[in-house]
């Protein structure tokens, strides 16, 4: 009941209520009638005009189309499109080949013609009752004698076909004479390198146990502030009788020339790197009987020489009571890993040395070798050498497993 006037309740009436109001409402008076009539007619005319205009606008937009226009496509479009497609395809293929060639780090080589040679190989065969016959191909010009229990030695002729062992990655320009020369050179380098390693590793060869002296070692391991772990032991040096060397400097130079410079042809013993440190440690430290070596692994002055000179004689570290020598450490670390190499693309003054490990391709390289002033020289630097492609490494490993004579094993 919040209306101001009770008749306000009549607003928004429904149909029946409106009828009642209608009955109580008089007709429109004359003025009102004429006013509404005129207004209605005017509005009606305006609506009609708008309607007509809309019809006119809509009718102007309509276009009546009749008949059929025959469309004739030019005949030349199809062959021209096909030709353009072929041109594009060809360009794409050519570009792809161009990219592939540029991305391949292997320099182009010329494929060698098929040639077959035979050679006679003397082979030692070792058998016993439980093991089937093992065939071991040997190097050319070498006779291998195997001793053991019980042994049956036979001689057999093995026909080696070069095609079977040819490294057919890329094209090759090997010529037999050049390849033989390159192989001979690298075999000699590898042999010398092995000898240099043996100088370091084989501490039981060429020793005279009747001429020895001992050195006391005091070892404190641990860094500054740590409680040191102290150990005292004795190491023994025995006379080194290898007739190949007459002085410690010769051993040192032999090691440098044949091992370190195999790995780094330009290496110099100037104390600027770890190799210099090891050379000094192994070959350039003189100790006398009765001396005491104090070592501390933290301060890096744990120098225990492998070789020393005393009274004009060479002595080598023969045994100790604890702690593995570096030589033993490296020998153990390299156990089971086979270092191999092979040559390819041999010419008069150039060949490529494939250097790889049997267990991983990560340290496998292709090293170009060039002949300068009649001397072969490995270009073992990042500017010239490159990482061995995976497929080449796999093929070399297969050759290795098949016992190919092309693979030179450490």
């Amino acid at each position: 009941m919040n209306k101001n006037n009770i008749f306000d309740f009549l607003e928004n009436s429904e149909d029946g209520e409106l009828e009642m109001i209608n009955r109580l409402t008089p007709d429109l008076n004359d003025d009102q009638f004429e006013r509404i009539l005129e207004m209605s007619k005017r509005k009606r005319n305006a609506m009609r005009d708008t309607e007509r205009k809309n019809i006119k606008i809509n009718s102007n937009d309509e276009e009546i189309v009749s008949g059929v226009e025959v469309y004739k496509r030019p005949k030349w479009i199809k062959p021209v499109t096909m030709a353009a497609s072929f041109v594009l395809l060809g360009c794409g293929i050519a570009f792809g080949i161009h990219l592939m060639r540029n991305l391949n780090p292997t320099p182009p080589v010329i494929e060698q013609g098929v040639s077959t040679t035979s050679e006679t190989t003397t082979t030692a065969v070792t058998t016993d009752e439980a093991v089937s016959t093992i065939l071991v191909p040997a190097d050319k010009n070498q006779t291998t004698i195997v001793t053991g229990m019980p042994v049956e030695v036979t001689t057999t002729t093995v026909a080696v076909t070069e095609d079977a062992t040819k490294i057919d990655v890329g094209t090759s320009i090997d010529e037999p004479d050049y390849k033989a020369e390159c192989e001979a050179w690298i075999r000699n380098k590898v042999r010398k390198r092995d000898e240099a390693l043996e100088v370091l590793y084989s501490i039981t060869d060429h020793v005279d146990l009747n001429d020895t002296f001992t050195i006391d070692v005091h070892n404190e391991s641990g860094g500054p502030g740590d409680i040191p772990v102290i150990s005292d032991y004795t190491i023994t040096y025995a006379r080194y009788t290898n007739p190949q060397f007459s002085s410690l400097d010769e051993i040192r130079d032999f090691y440098i020339e044949n091992y370190l410079r195999f790995l780094s042809p330009d290496w110099e013993y100037d104390g600027s790197d770890m190799d210099s440190h090891y050379v000094k440690r192994y070959f350039d430290t003189r100790i006398q009987p009765g001396e005491k070596i104090e070592i501390n692994s933290w301060n890096k002055y744990d120098i225990i020489p492998v070789y020393t000179e005393y009274n004009g004689k060479i002595y080598t570290l023969y045994a100790k009571e604890s702690a593995m020598t570096d030589a033993e450490y490296w020998a153990e670390k390299q156990h089971g890993i086979m270092w191999c190499c092979a040559v390819d693309n041999c010419t008069e003054d150039y060949f490529e040395l494939y250097e790889f490990y049997s267990n991983s391709n990560e340290s496998s390289w292709v090293i170009p070798c060039v002949k300068i002033d009649g001397e072969w020289r490995m270009q073992r630097d990042e500017e010239h050498m490159w990482q061995m492609p995976e497929d080449l490494w796999q093929e070399l490993c297969e050759k290795l497993n098949n016992g190919s004579s092309d693979i030179i094993i450490n």
């Binding site: 009941m1 008089p26 008076n29 009606r44």
Partner: protein
């Protein structure tokens, strides 16, 4: 009223048809429009709306798609009246900005209880007005619902203005008594 009936009223002229339609349905349409726009529009607004409705009705009859003209007129009148009501109400007084502080306090205008109560009061009021008898019921509706002056009412009921005023006073007193008896005391 059907188209056939309408044909009997005019003689073929459009103007006659317009006059006939307005004469027959003018009051009916006006009642609908006035009922809706009474609180928000002026007399001019109401007449404008009525003329709009008749303009549409003329066209509908001319084009021949009106079967029952009265129903059509009623439908057009209600819808157009609502349009006018919204247009007139949207002038500002019934709108509130969303940033206004009073916005959360606004109630839903659809109050079922209020609607039901109004309907009941409306029915009682109309019944009691009707029970006053003519011409008092017409006079009192003209006076208080249509807000017409006594002289304007006098013309429609063929009485003098003073007679209208005296009858209006007495009728209003009777209505108040009867409504009070019904519990409507305002």
């Amino acid at each position: 009223m059907s188209v056939e009936n309408m044909n009997n009223y005019w003689q073929g002229s459009s103007d006659d048809m317009y006059r006939t339609l307005l004469k027959e349905l003018g009051r009916y349409v006006y009642v609908i429009v006035f009922n809706k726009l009474r609180s928000c529009g002026t007399n001019e607004d109401i007449e404008e709306c009525v003329s709009d409705i008749f303009a549409n009705l003329f066209i509908a009859v001319e084009d021949g798609y009106a079967k029952d003209i009265k129903k059509l007129a009623g439908t057009i009148a209600k819808r157009r009246a609502i349009d006018y009501f919204r247009k007139l109400s949207a002038s500002g007084k019934n709108t509130v900005s969303v940033d206004d502080e009073s916005l959360p306090e606004l109630k839903d205008c659809f109050d079922v209880e209020n609607i039901s109560e109004n309907k009941e009061v409306r029915n009682i009021l109309l019944r009691e007005i009707n029970s006053l008898g003519e011409p008092d019921s017409t006079i009192i509706l003209q006076k208080f619902y249509y807000n017409k002056s006594s002289s304007e009412i006098a013309k429609t009921v063929r009485m003098t203005a003073s007679s209208v005023r005296s009858r209006c006073t007495r009728a209003m007193e009777r209505l108040r008594i009867s409504l009070s008896a019904m519990g409507i005391t305002r």
